[in-house]
């Protein structure tokens, strides 16, 4: 479905992505994990077109999309949930859901989507997507805007970042239930064991390279639990 061929991205003499080659299959729940600065966010931004690679090719369903803009890729079937949801002035939750949805949606349908991400819909549908919403509320709205698109590939850039523990636990439950709700392939950057456990596949990144791709069992046992073990011994 999506192929990355020899993707390189360098800034200030630092190789942020160093010759990445990757194939993503359809209908998979794939997690990307790895230490800070390993290139995870840059990689997903390059898939969406938010960043342009210095070299390499991006192939989507057999066609090269490397030079396509963000919205062209969005219209081909790629969605992207931001790590820090964007705030607006005057644009309401309903407005965003209407823009996001390919088909016309009425308020009742918008409310149904909001309920699925754990928001009490009537209280939120007409609210502005601005700073009056909490970090957890903005995250849920962000998830709703990508879920409503029902695209072939949905990318989440570290959804757990910047929210408190209580909101996070609720968010994980949403991801667990959305595992079946979101259509197509989900590509999610996460460090959370509960997310990694439910993944069909985990991509482990380190210093701009893909260190390993494997099942959640393989990666969790070999790398993450081993790292935790070392920490305890120390």
């Amino acid at each position: 479905m999506l192929e990355l061929e020899n993707i390189c991205f360098e800034r200030e003499n630092r190789k942020i992505l160093d010759n990445i080659n990757l194939n993503l299959d359809t209908d998979q729940f794939i997690a990307i994990t790895g230490p800070n600065g390993s290139g995870k966010s840059t990689l997903v931004k390059i898939i969406m077109g938010i960043e342009k690679p210095d070299s390499g090719k991006i192939i989507w369903q057999g066609k090269e999309i490397t030079s396509l803009s963000i919205h062209e890729r969005a219209n081909l079937g790629i969605s992207f949930a931001f790590q820090q949801p964007v705030k607006f002035k005057g644009i309401t939750v309903y407005d965003l859901l209407k823009i996001a949805s390919k088909k016309e949606i009425n308020k009742k349908q918008a409310c149904e989507i909001l309920s699925k991400v754990g928001l009490c819909a009537n209280e939120y549908v007409d609210r502005e997507v601005n700073g009056s919403l909490s970090g957890g509320e903005l995250k849920r709205i962000e998830i709703a805007t990508v879920a409503v698109r029902e695209t072939t590939l949905t990318i989440f850039d570290e959804p757990e970042a910047g929210i408190d523990l209580w909101s996070f636990n609720n968010l994980i439950e949403i991801f667990e239930s959305m595992r079946n709700m979101i259509k197509g392939t989900t590509l999610i950057i996460s460090h959370q064991e509960r997310i990694l456990t439910i993944a069909d596949q985990i991509i482990l990144m380190k210093a701009g390279k893909i260190e390993k791709i494997g099942t959640s069992e393989e990666i969790l046992n070999e790398h993450i639990k081993a790292a935790q073990c070392c920490k305890l011994k120390r």
Binding site: M48, I50, S69, I70, H71, A74, N75, S79, F80, F82, V86, F88, K89, G90, I91, T92, D95, L96, I99, A100, K102, T145, R149
Partner: protein
């Protein structure tokens, strides 16, 4: 005879500044090219022509609840300089919605100008929601000029909410809004302005918080594009235990220029006055987010501006 009738052009102008069908539901006075052409009064709302100068007096009886007053003005004659004084006397505990506005259609080369001076006198406990919309259109090079003045005098326990919008087609405007607030009063102003081409818009707020527990919230949201210029001046005086918040938020594009001059003066130790001003281009991340939802860059920008000015 024809000039005293509402034709199709007039109707479309009236629809731009208020809902034409809605106008006829309450009391109304329609002014066209400097003359009143249609008027309706109700049991509780009387409208009388001034005898000393052009304009009308609007009297709302005390305890009148949820009635509408529409006083639209339309200018379709090029070269007209229309000056009008309208005074609103709102009785005790009345609660009404007043819709004013001016639509100018100028297809010729002479300037068309409307200066509306509106004064509101609210008695104790009265509540007014005042909506004002300004609009200009036409293919001529004659300028469309609007200089509204709004003065609001609030007696104890009264409140007024004013919403003004000037989104399209006005070449030059100087908008002055003045408020004098008594005890336990509240004055909320929300203004939306968009300028393009070489248009100029200047808004001046001057609010005096005289009474104890008086409060005001002034919000201006504007978009300046092309080579247009905007000036925002806000002067708030806290002369008693009071609260004021003024907020100027402007999006700037192309070679436009925006100046915001806040001025807050506390003349009382319990005056709590805040001013916020932000001028900047559309945040790149907002455009990116909407593009990830499938909008082109241009569509995303339009959506952001429409939301901002809603």
């Amino acid at each position: 005879m024809e000039e005293n009738q509402i034709n199709q052009l007039d109707q479309s102008l009236l629809n731009e500044i208020s809902d034409f069908d809605q106008i006829k539901k309450g009391a109304y006075n329609i002014r066209k090219n400097g003359k009143g052409i249609e008027r309706k009064v109700t049991e509780n709302i009387n409208i009388m022509t001034k005898t000393d100068k052009p304009g009308i007096n609007i009297y709302v009886k005390e305890n009148t609840k949820f009635e509408f007053v529409h006083i639209p003005v339309i200018l379709t004659e090029s070269g007209l300089n229309d000056l009008v004084y309208n005074d609103f006397y709102i009785g005790k505990n009345a609660n009404v919605i007043i819709v004013a506005g001016c639509g100018i259609h100028n297809d010729h080369h002479q300037d068309s100008k409307h200066d509306g001076i509106h004064r509101f006198f609210l008695e104790e406990g009265a509540k007014v929601r005042y909506i004002e919309k300004h609009y200009g259109e036409g293919i001529g090079d004659g300028k469309r000029i609007l200089n509204p003045v709004t003065e609001v005098y609030l007696k104890d326990g009264s409140s007024m909410e004013m919403q003004s919008a000037q989104i399209k087609g006005v070449d030059s405007t100087i908008r002055e809004t003045k408020g004098v607030l008594g005890n336990n009063t509240n004055f909320v102003v929300s203004e939306k302005i968009m300028t393009n081409g070489i248009q100029m818009a200047k808004t001046i707020f001057d609010v005096e918080l005289k009474g104890k527990n008086s409060s005001t919230h002034v919000t201006s949201r504007s978009v300046a594009t092309d080579q247009s210029t905007q000036f925002f001046v806000s002067k708030i005086y806290g002369n008693n235990e009071c609260f004021a918040h003024s907020e100027c938020d402007a999006i700037i594009k192309d070679e436009a220029k925006v100046t915001a001059t806040p001025e807050i003066t506390a003349n009382h130790v319990d005056a709590n006055l805040i001013h916020e001003a932000a001028i900047g281009k559309i945040a790149g991340e907002q455009i990116t987010k909407l593009m990830t939802l499938g909008l082109s860059e241009k569509e995303a920008e339009e959506e952001i501006i429409n939301g901002f000015l809603r």
